[in-house]
């Protein structure tokens, strides 16, 4: 990519920049190790991106996947008080890369309109959010727009054979799954135990006595399960099924089982059926062997008590009427939907979802429904605007796979369907899952444009 003018590549300018950055890093490390670490990661990622786009994007996705673990380790050994700057680093590196991408991208008029619609939808919730808590609203807007910006990354990558996110997920998530097994079957490492106690993870107890629901290097079982879901779809649909890849699939699905996140299990099953329908049965030759091996091996690999706990958890699908968690979700939705429709501009950005944590007010942090979180924050107008962009992207993915069922189209369709279904039970549009979602939307839209261009 052309180098931004602000970043000198040689001579006195480069030396001045290097000395200044090294001094700044050393100085901030004195204030807080987390601060120094945040600056170091930010500088490394941006510089890698400027040198080589693929390397930079790989670094961005790795930051999302690994920085939560780094935060926990640093918190254990060099605890800091107040807001941890490392929590914002993934958003900052993504925002930096997205701004570079925007300066390079040539978007079609239709895509520009779609992006403006998305930005407009979120902006609707800004005035009321800013009135209630300016800091929270600003962070929520930044976080949601950064995620939306990943649309451009996906859009630009659509023409390339090697897609960075799926490649990273295929290699890294099996390793994250191994760490998850370690969390489940052995005593938790100190940093995870401290995190469990201090971060207020509300749903970390598994159905098996004395065990936890795994979250690996991420922040919660639900987020980890969603990422594993996307990785499983990638591994099954995208590249050739080699023995190594099959082992990776089993590792990922095994870890997914140990998260005990039922909404993701259900979404995976739903996605499997949707892929079969969209490919008119074509995907059966990939899904079939995986399902058969899974049915044969799972009872052998999983221990007796773990197998029983997972079966019990799965069995609760048949009695959702008596299930506390399911009923609580239905209760929240039932109470909030009429209230949300009564406020045309919503309750304001940051009034729901993870960003609400910043305000410390009585918001709806665990909205348990991504659609509801958008509706509550931006009102019916903003909700329809944002959802219309999502519908266009999913429709594009559907059309792509129907017309040409190549692996990349199947992957994009499968992962988008999966995330759209998972959103019914979680705030998918925030954080790493939001980045993945909008990245896939960009891929879907651009691939449709390419198909249409090829056709015309």
């Amino acid at each position: 990519m052309p180098r931004p003018r602000l970043l000198p590549s040689r001579g006195i300018g480069w030396w001045a920049l290097s000395v200044a950055v090294a001094l700044l890093t050393a100085r901030l490390t004195m204030d807080s190790v987390q601060f120094g670490c945040a600056i170091a990661i930010l500088v490394l990622t941006v510089c890698l991106y400027v040198r080589d786009r693929t390397a930079g994007l790989v670094a961005v996705w790795l930051v999302w996947l690994l920085v939560p673990l780094l935060r926990r380790i640093l918190f254990q050994y060099v605890p800091s008080f107040g807001t941890d700057p490392l929590a914002v680093v993934p958003f900052l590196v993504t925002a930096a890369v997205v701004s570079f991408e925007l300066s390079q991208a040539t978007l079609s008029r239709r895509t520009r309109r779609l992006l403006l619609l998305g930005v407009g939808g979120y902006a609707i919730g800004l005035p009321l959010g800013a009135l209630a808590s300016p800091k929270t609203a600003a962070f929520a807007l930044f976080a949601y727009l950064t995620a939306l910006g990943c649309f451009v990354i996906g859009y630009r990558e659509a023409e390339q054979k090697r897609l960075t996110l799926p490649s990273v997920l295929m290699i890294v998530t099996p390793l994250l799954a191994l760490y998850a097994f370690r969390q489940y079957y052995f005593p938790l490492p100190k940093w995870d135990l401290t995190w469990l106690h201090t971060a207020g993870v509300t749903s970390a107890t598994s159905s098996e006595t004395g065990r936890i629901r795994v979250w690996s290097t991420l922040n919660s079982p639900a987020t980890f399960a969603t990422v594993l879901g996307v990785a499983a779809i990638t591994l099954v649909t995208w590249r050739k099924l080699t023995p190594v890849r099959l082992v990776s699939i089993f590792a990922v699905l095994g870890a997914l089982a140990l998260t005990y996140v039922r909404s993701v299990w259900a979404a995976i099953l739903f996605t499997g059926v949707a892929i079969l329908l969209a490919t008119r049965g074509g995907a059966l030759k990939r899904l079939g062997p995986v399902i058969i091996l899974l049915v044969l091996l799972a009872p052998v690999v999983l221990g007796g008590s773990t197998r029983a706990a997972i079966s019990d958890r799965f069995g609760t699908f048949g009695s959702l009427g008596q299930d506390t968690s399911a009923q609580a979700r239905l209760g929240t939705s039932g109470g909030l939907i009429p209230q949300a429709f009564a406020t045309p501009l919503g309750n304001g950005l940051g009034s729901a979802g993870e960003a609400n944590k910043l305000s410390g007010s009585e918001g709806l942090r665990y909205s348990d429904n991504g659609y509801l979180a958008v509706l509550v924050q931006t009102g019916p107008v903003g909700f329809l605007t944002i959802i219309s962009v999502i519908i266009v992207a999913i429709a594009s993915a559907c059309r792509n796979v129907w017309r040409r069922g190549d692996p990349a189209n199947v992957l994009v369709f499968g992962a988008l369907t999966f995330l759209a279904v998972t959103m019914v039970a979680g705030d998918v549009l925030f954080g790493i899952t939001g980045m993945i979602f909008w990245y896939l939307c960009g891929l879907a839209v651009r691939r449709r444009e390419l198909l249409e261009e090829a056709k015309s």
């Binding site: 290097s18 100085r27 490390t29």
Partner: protein
């Protein structure tokens, strides 16, 4: 020198520079010493007072919630004000509050009061003064409440008929007043100091070894990034291209 070696050298220079900067910053910081005082909130009252009678059942709540709540009380600015009043030479209440950190230890009923100061002796004095001020305030509150309740019971006792005073109702109130009287005189005895603050010569800040270690580590990360940003000089790029062309030519010749 090859391009890779030159880049590695630049990374090394930046890493050493960041480490040296961290060392310089760290050494320029004033030294601070810390001292800790530990309080234990095991019971509501000491066992000897519990022996006097019932009414001292321990609260049924999560021990971590309880100790965090107790820590909030220890953290109160009222304590810093009381400490400043008792020891004017230690500075204002704001200065004392700024030098103190109160932390509850998870899965125990223990609270640590840590003080930071420019000398080990002063740090120990600040921690002790703060801890003692808290204990005094806490006990004063317990005694005040015990006295108020005892007075109320005394009034009620005085209003009783002679018959009631001589029987069970009167005996009950006398029993309660007796316990409250001990509580008023001695306090609850809780929390207990399980470790007094001591002066040690180990500096708590700056932690030079840690600062330099992280300075070098982050310097390395930043160095890799910044060197990746650096483009090759035209002469070096031309030389590298020539080398690659020669290598390709050699391979072609060999394959023929």
């Amino acid at each position: 020198m090859t391009s890779l070696a030159a880049r590695a050298l630049l990374v090394l220079i930046l890493t050493i520079f960041a480490g040296a900067a961290a060392l310089a910053y760290s050494n320029s910081q004033p030294k601070k010493y810390s001292a800790d005082m530990r309080l234990e909130f095991g019971r509501l009252v000491t066992p000897d007072i519990q022996l006097l009678g019932g009414g001292f059942s321990e609260p049924q709540m999560d021990e971590n919630i309880r100790i965090q709540t107790e820590a909030q009380e220890v953290r109160s600015f009222d304590v810093a004000e009381a400490a400043a009043k008792a020891h004017p030479d230690l500075g204002s209440a704001n200065a004392i509050a700024g030098a103190i950190n109160v932390a509850a230890i998870r899965d125990t009923l223990t609270v640590i009061i840590s003080a930071q100061a420019s000398s080990p002796h002063r740090a120990a004095r600040v921690a002790s003064a703060y801890g003692d001020a808290y204990l005094a305030l806490h006990q004063a509150l317990v005694r005040k409440r015990a006295a108020a309740t005892e007075r109320a019971l005394q009034i009620r006792y005085n209003e009783m008929t002679q018959g009631d005073k001589a029987n069970v109702p009167g005996a009950n109130i006398r029993f309660q007043m007796n316990t409250l009287d001990v509580l008023r005189r001695l306090g609850s005895g809780q929390p207990q100091t399980i470790e007094r603050a001591r002066a040690t010569n180990i500096t708590s800040s700056p932690n030079t070894a840690r600062d330099v270690g992280f300075g070098i580590l982050f310097g390395l990360v930043v160095g890799i990034g910044l060197v990746a940003l650096r483009s090759e000089s035209p002469a070096r790029a031309a030389a590298a291209a020539a080398r690659r062309a020669a290598e390709r030519a050699r391979q072609t010749t060999r394959s023929r």
